[in-house]
């Protein structure tokens, strides 16, 4: 009469399945998040920035033709600011788009301004302008003061400012037609 049901005493009840699944699930989630973050570039890499929605920093710079131009003088017009240099490959690729946009300029329409960023030789910039027939003012920024004010770290970088003088969009990296139009749309200008 001394039967010993071993299962009753020696083997404890295993944890419920959902409890056992928690650690591997947490580990898998962590690996997933890490992998996603590593493999996908940040969303605001090419657009956005701390200046969006704020008043565009004022500047008065001299164009390559020696004419002083201030942002304030363009108040009431949407402005496209393009930081560039002749040595920059992507600037070269987007230049035809700016020429095309330049042909649409009217007296009260969008104003395009180029600002030289770390241009090593001014003559190269002049050759660039001639080569791409850019019909808008290109300004010198000798101390990179304006560049710093706009948070420019590399070029090309394009700032889209609306009629009220508020920065609505920034694009870093060579523009494509779609990206240029996306910026123009934000400042109420018809795309090209």
């Amino acid at each position: 009469m001394t039967d010993t049901p071993s299962t009753q005493t020696t083997k404890p009840n295993p944890a419920p399945i959902w409890k056992r699944a928690i650690p591997p699930l947490i580990a898998a989630a962590l690996v997933g998040v890490l992998g996603y973050t590593l493999l996908s570039p940040a969303k605001n890499v090419t657009t956005g920035g701390p200046l969006i929605g704020k008043a565009a920093p004022a500047f008065t710079l001299t164009s390559l033709d020696g004419v002083p131009i201030s942002l304030a003088s363009l108040k009431g017009r949407p402005v496209v600011l393009n930081f560039w240099a002749s040595w920059c490959g992507p600037c070269r690729e987007e230049a035809p788009l700016f020429r095309e946009l330049g042909t649409q300029q009217t007296a009260d329409g969008v104003a395009i301004l180029g600002i030289l960023f770390q241009e090593t030789k001014e003559q190269n910039a002049r050759d660039f302008i001639k080569e791409y027939a850019l019909a808008y003012p290109n300004l010198r920024d000798p101390g990179i003061n304006t560049g710093v004010d706009y948070g420019v770290s590399g070029i090309p970088e394009t700032v889209f400012i609306d009629k009220a003088g508020i920065v609505q969009f920034m694009d870093r990296g060579g523009l494509t037609r779609e990206r240029l139009n996306a910026g123009l749309e934000k400042i109420g200008v018809k795309g090209i």
Binding site: M1, T9, L51, C88, G143, G147, S153, G154, G173
Partner: protein, 193 residues
């Protein structure tokens, strides 16, 4: 973000004939290529950065101010360098400009936090090598502590459960099931069960 900018500015000639259209985007999404180009880019940078640097006369600072300037410069990231180096170490033009801007602002009597704000308003918190411990950043700073506390709590609970479970099962093991003893216990109204 810095992949494109750093390389382009440091080594323009390397990129002169780079791909069409979204060349910059392609570069950003191919870090291995960026990394391969980096040493060459740095060499190029060292060779011409100084020649191209804007020559702003450095503001003269008192020794204490100079120390402040250096401390601030060490806490600001060079916005176009891939390596995350500070503007105090970087030799790129933009870092030279930012260094002189820090000195100018110190001369103007601005406080450290005002100077940090000046740069973060332009470049975002990205430029701050010692981000402020406020807002969303609090999560970043506190996450390791929270994780440590959570892990500690789990470990404590686990050890405690094990500690109490072990004697109970040991007692059970020490007394094998005996139906006769069980019967006696039931009859006398005592014992487990």
């Amino acid at each position: 973000m810095t992949g494109r900018m750093g390389i382009e500015v440091l080594a323009p000639s390397l990129l002169a004939g780079e791909g069409r259209g979204g060349g910059a985007v392609q570069q950003r999404t191919r870090p291995s290529r960026t990394l391969r180009l980096l040493p060459a880019a740095l060499c190029l940078l060292l060779s011409f950065a100084h020649a191209a640097a804007p020559t702003t006369p450095p503001a003269t600072l008192a020794p204490a101010q100079e120390q402040r300037a250096v401390a601030i410069q060490r806490n600001l990231r060079c916005p176009l360098c891939d390596t995350g180096e500070s503007i105090a170490e970087s030799r790129s033009d933009i870092s030279i400009k930012m260094r002189s801007s820090v000195r100018e602002q110190i001369v103007d009597g601005r406080s450290d936090s005002e100077i940090y704000t000046f740069f973060s308003q332009r470049y975002g918190n990205f430029v701050l090598l010692d981000p402020p411990k406020t807002g969303r950043n609090l999560l970043l700073w506190s996450a390791p502590l929270l994780a440590l506390a959570g892990g500690g709590a789990v470990l404590w609970a686990f050890l405690r459960r094990k500690g109490t479970a072990a004697p109970a099962s040991a007692a059970q093991d020490a007394e094998p099931y005996d139906s006769y003893l069980d019967q006696v216990r039931r009859d006398t109204g005592g014992g487990p069960g």
